[in-house]
Structures are given as C-alpha cells and as structure tokens.
C-alpha cells in the first residue's frame, strides 16, 4: 500500500481525525525526527521570520523601541549608490574567487588522477588549507602581504619586479585582489577533492578507446573528461559560488571590509550595518536581499540534486 493510499484510506471521521490517526500509527517515526525538526525551526526557521519582520521596522539595537516603517528600508537601499557598489564588489569577488578555485582545483585533480605514488600524502597535503580556521589563513595572508615586512614584497623586490614595497591591502583598488587570493587558497582543496572523485568515476575504457584511435591528450580532456565531469563541475561550482558569496571570516579578518569599503561584499555589509552599527532593521533588510540570492542558488541545487527521479 502506498503512502498516499494509506493516508486517504477510507475511514470514518473528519480529515483531522484521519490525520491524527495517521500520526498516531507512525508516532515513533515522528517522535524521532521531532527534536531535530523543532531545533531547526527554532534556530534557523524563527530567525528567518524574525529577519523578515525586523526588515520592516526601524530598530536600533540599543533600545527596545521599534517603529514600523513598512518597505522604507528596501526603498532606501535600492535608491542608494552603496547597494549597487556592493553588488558589483560582491559580483567580482564571487566570479574571481570561483573561477580561481575551479581552475586550480581542476589542475590539481587532473594531476592527481593517474597512478600516483604517494597519492594519499598529496591528497592530505592539498586538503590542509581547506580545513584550518579561516581567521588563521587570513592573518597569514595579511602577514605575507604586509607592506613592510611581508614575504610577497620581499620576493617581488628580489626579482626586480617592483622597486618599492607595495601595500596591497591598504590600496582601495588592489585590496580585493589581496583578499581573493586568500579565499582561493582556502577554497581550492574542496574543488580539487570533488573533481578528483569525479575523475575517478569516469570509466577507464573511454580513455583506452580514445588512445587506440590516436586521440591527443588535450582532445581526450576536451571530449571525454570535460563532458563526463559536467555534473560534478556543475554542483561543485554551485556550492563554491554559495560559499564564496557568504564568505565572511576571511574578509573580516584581512580588511574588515576596507579600505574605504572596497572589499565589502553584501554579507560584510549586513554585519557592519546590522551588528556593528546596531541598525538591526536595515541589516535585516540587507539580509533578506541575501536570502533571495541564496534562494536562487538553492533552487538550482535542489533541481540538480533531485534530478533523475525520486531518490530520497
């Protein structure tokens, strides 16, 4: 008997009674998921609703007085130059970051795929940047990029590329690049590991057949590897896009969004406005805009994930 049939099974009484009877029959199943469900509703569901509500209020963090102002926050946001600047800065941050992570990850994975001696060692070593605190990676990159004592400047000076030390993180037009490099470093291992797993699931026979036909390495990559890897690349870049979009710790530790807000992204701005400046209402409105972006990503992800029928 299918679930639906069981549910609509002819029985006397109202819909409600039938529903209750159904829950009772499956009470153990519901009891076991209840703690997790209630917990998520309280810690994630409620804050979502609260964020929507707050976004309609003038709500300073240091007082209990809230004034309902409707959509005014949104109107002001969409009419401000800051918002469009944030979009541009978030866009370049995400595009550069994801592109860097994808290409570097692919490069590593392709070279780790074959019959490599010590693959476990390489895989573990490549994994490390992903698994350590972002704040630590961020201060290390801050140190490397230090205008006076940094290693980067020392190397560039030695190679004769520059004549004077440059302060990357203090320069409004360069700072975002200085931060994105750190973010790429952190995010690359995930891509490499996913791509490697994807590559290893490609049947070896395809390559053997191509080799017999005399296909060049590059052609094998172009016509076998890439098409076979398509869905893996799709999911990995989508996840990476989400994580890069919401990346907070790295930017916050390296620049705090500065200089003159040049490294601020949407999520950095949420934090600055909502928590640092204590303008909860405005911060909430920015958060709702962030939700919308994430919603689009989530829908795409669920589409890909549940594609090919009911797998739950």
């Amino acid at each position: 008997m299918s679930l639906a049939e069981e549910y609509t099974e002819a029985s006397d009484g109202s819909r409600l009674e039938r529903g209750l009877a159904y829950v009772q029959r499956n009470s153990r199943a519901y009891l076991l998921i209840a703690p997790a469900a209630v917990f998520l509703l309280a810690v994630v569901g409620y804050p979502i609703i609260e964020t929507f509500r707050l976004s309609l209020y003038q709500s300073p963090a240091d007082s209990n007085i809230e004034t309902f102002i409707g959509l005014q926050h949104y109107v002001e946001i969409f009419n401000s130059d800051i918002f469009y600047r944030l979009l541009w800065q978030t866009g370049r941050w995400v595009v550069a970051g994801v592109a860097g992570k994808t290409l570097l990850g692919l490069l590593i994975a392709v070279h780790l795929k074959g019959d490599i001696r010590g693959r476990k060692f390489f895989r573990t070593a490549f994994l490390i940047p992903w698994g350590i605190p972002y704040a630590i990676s961020a201060v290390v990159f801050r140190w490397i990029e230090h205008p006076q004592f940094g290693y980067l400047n020392a190397i560039l000076l030695k190679l004769g590329i520059i004549e004077q030390g440059i302060g990357i993180l203090g320069n409004p037009s360069l700072a975002w690049l200085g931060v994105v490099v750190a973010d790429i470093w952190i995010g690359t291992p995930f891509m490499a590991i996913i791509f490697l797993a994807g590559l290893q699931s490609i049947p070896q026979e395809l390559y053997e057949a191509a080799a017999i036909d005399g296909a060049e390495k590059w052609h094998q990559f172009r016509y076998i590897t890439l098409p076979q890897l398509k869905s893996v690349v799709l999911i990995a870049t989508l996840l990476s896009t989400i994580w890069t979009f919401v990346s907070f710790d790295v930017i916050w530790t390296m620049t705090g969004g500065g200089p003159i807000s040049s490294t601020a992204t949407l999520v950095i701005h949420i934090y600055q406005v909502g928590l640092q400046n204590g303008n909860l209402g405005r911060g909430a409105a920015y958060s709702v805009i962030g939700f919308l972006f994430l919603l689009v990503f989530a829908i795409i992800y669920l589409r890909i994930y549940t594609r090919g029928g009911d797998e739950l």
Binding site: I33, A125, P133, W143, I144, H146
Partner: protein, 281 residues
Amino acid sequence: MTMAGHDRSSLRKVRLYGVLIGLLGLMMLPFYAMFSSTLKPESEIFAAPATLVPSDPSIQAYLQVWTQTDVLLWVGNSFIISVGTVVLTLLLAIPAAYSCARNDFVGKRTFLLAVLVVQMFAPVVLIVGLFDVITQLGLFNTYLAVIVPAAAFTLPFNVWMLYGYFKTIPVALEESARIDGASQLQILTKIVLPLTKPALVASITYTFLYAWNRLLFVLTFLTDSAKYNIPRGVFSMVGALQTDWRMMLTVSVLGIIPLLILFAFLEEYIVAGMTAGAVKE
C-alpha cells in the same frame, strides 16, 4: 613497449610529478611564511624587506607563547565548543536520520529537503535574526551561544550522511536482535551504530572542524575574552596600530597542529564526507 615509448612515458611521469610538486609547493607557501617567521627573533621579524630564510632560527617564540598569550585557554575553549557541537548535533541527527531510513511517512521528503535547504542557508545572512534568538534565549556569552547555531548548521550534513548510511544496513539484522529480546535503544547502540562507523566518523570530523574553524559565532555571541576560541583569539591579536606578528603566528601554528593530526589519521573519512553531496554514484 619500445624504447622510445618507454622514454616517453617516464618523461611524462617526471613532468607529472614536477607539476604536482610545484602545485603543492605553491599551496604550502603560506605555511612556510607562517612557520619560518615564528623561528625568527623579534629583531628579524621586523626586517624590511623580509628575510626569506631565518638567519638564526630559534624556538624562543614557542617557549614564550604560553606566558605571553592565552593560547592554552583558546585551545581549551575550542575543544569545549567543538566537542559540545559534536554531541548536540549527533543527539539530534542520529534519531532523525534513523527514523527517515527505517520509516516511510508523510512529511519525510519535506523534512529531508528542508534540511538540505538549511545547509545552503549560510549563518552570516541569518546573523541579525540569530542575534535576536540568542539574546532572547539568554545564551549570550555562554558556550551554548556558539554551540547551538553551529549545531544547527552542521545538522544537515549529519542527517544526510547518516540517513544514507542507515539505509544500507539490512533490517533483518535488527529484526533478529529484536526477536532475541533487545530493546530499541540496544539495537541502535549495539548493532546499528557500530555498523555506521564510517559515516559517524565522517560526520564527527566535519562537525568538529566546522566548530573549530569558524569565527563568526564567537565574534558575535561571545564578548567574554575568557571564552575565546582559537580563531577569535588570533583575531583579537590583530591590532589597529600594532600587531605582535611573532606571537600571533606562533599561536596560529599551535592552533592548527591538532587539525594536522586529525587530517593525518582521518583523511579518508574527511574526503568521503566532502564528496558525499557532490559526486553521485
């Protein structure tokens, strides 16, 4: 194989390892910068331009760091937060995942998909609303202020990981135990969970790392410096005008050593966890 073919394949090997080692070197550069700096005396660390190799390496910084910073306290707090998050997450995830794997009920699909959506919902876009919840629950400045949100955001991974694994365990095993008079709890702890070890280890490692590595929750919900964890401690050492780089980098090295040990032993489980959602068999 002809000689020429043999030469070509060994040349390819050399090139392959060359590229690999080059890439690895590139990825390891930041670690070199971090570690080599901690071996420099105070006078050398503030040399401009930087010396790329410490001229007179010493482990002085590692002797001073215990008294000059709160590194032990931070590591201890990191452990409390990580272990607390692991425990809370498992307590919630195991029953839920087990229920979904063993029963078919209205709302199961919704529950599992909703959990998946939570995974997408990054904490930072929720931070304003979370701030409200944490204060209303009176959790501000307690370890739970970090453990509770961290558990919420690691729960999805745990539920899916365990759900997928529970499904592969034959029901017959449990039924025969039931006939032998085992209680539901005994069945779960004595039969099912031991068989779930790979998924459990992957889940625990993921959760532990998540809680160990994140700055956001501690930054926002813990202002009491006695409860700082490693990321927050390192962050607190970044001064507006002056930063003690030598001590900060030494703390950083110490802060990642427990993780390196974890990686060395559990690499396979970590990789299994990372690839779980992305690579479909």
